[in-house]
Assembly symmetry: C2
Homo-oligomer: 140 residues x 2
DNA sequence: CCTTAGCTGTTATTTAGTTGCATTTACCCT
DNA sequence: AGGGTAAATGCAACTAAATAACAGCTAAGG
């Protein structure tokens, strides 16, 4: 991904251009899968832990990343497609591979079914996590 | 819930009968919602933190509880309906209230749709977390 | 009873995430 | 351009969450 595009992406989300943010964003774009804090910490030893935490938070806050629910303890983040500072909408699925542990965003829209929720419950949105075995692991 | 029933429930899942396990299980049955480690720690100050952790793990391992994915950092557990040591199957939904933060198991089966997963991906199961406002919070 | 596998409490350690503060930097405005 | 300012960074200390090691105790089966 081109430098100028990354820069524009940060600007679009009202974020200042800094080395750390550029590198982290580029890494997300490159990897095309959900990354944990640990992934970043391993990759970017030149940046302070705290800075990486703050980078993740600012990205999440400004609609560049979304936090993906996971029972694994530490949080995992994935790139948003068309979110901005005002509106977050993540109507896609997440696929978690039980073999290699990686999480990916799958471009299958979550169609909200006519849920028969108990009386007086109101749904705003929905997280769907599909567990299984991914492409790469299936091939081995 | 009767003492003898709780006891039988533990036995059915091949777990020894201990004070801690009886109390924790009773609490889950009584509350009828998902509980976090912190909930237990607050409730049962007579038991050591480590023991409570171990109780949760053993319950999970033996099919008495299932871990519910959540982005909130610490894990949340809900009672299983018909699981045992061998087979876990959690085809029900989870409802997380954005207002009070509690998570409940909703007895609506997750009907696995004809997902068009990317090629060579294989699904084993699915977690569905419905976010919204619950009964009690809606009434206030 | 008595034995023993397995549960418990204690302490210590690892891992995850946050806070405060001094310094530096991006970027807006003439 | 270049200067002022709000924001980002690095560092250090701190809180919280989870796990590990080990010695003593107890449930359950004979």
């Amino acid at each position: 991904m081109k430098y100028s595009e990354l820069k524009q992406s940060l600007k679009n989300h009202k974020l200042r251009i800094t080395d750390c943010r550029m590198d982290v964003l580029a890494y997300f774009k490159e990897m095309q899968r959900a990354l944990s804090f640990k992934d970043l910490e391993d990759k970017f030893q030149e940046y302070d832990r705290v800075t990486l935490y703050r980078t993740l938070h600012s990205f999440e806050e400004n609609g560049l990343l979304h936090k993906i629910p996971g029972d694994s303890g530490s949080a995992v983040y994935g790139l948003c497609n068309d979110c901005d500072v005002e509106s977050h909408h993540h109507n896609h699925m997440h696929f978690k591979c039980t073999s290699c542990g990686t999480t990916e965003c799958i471009d299958v829209p979550v169609e909200i079914p006519a849920l028969s929720l108990p009386k007086n419950y109101k749904m705003t949105d929905m997280d769907v996590i599909v567990n299984g075995v991914c492409n790469t692991c299936n091939s081995n």
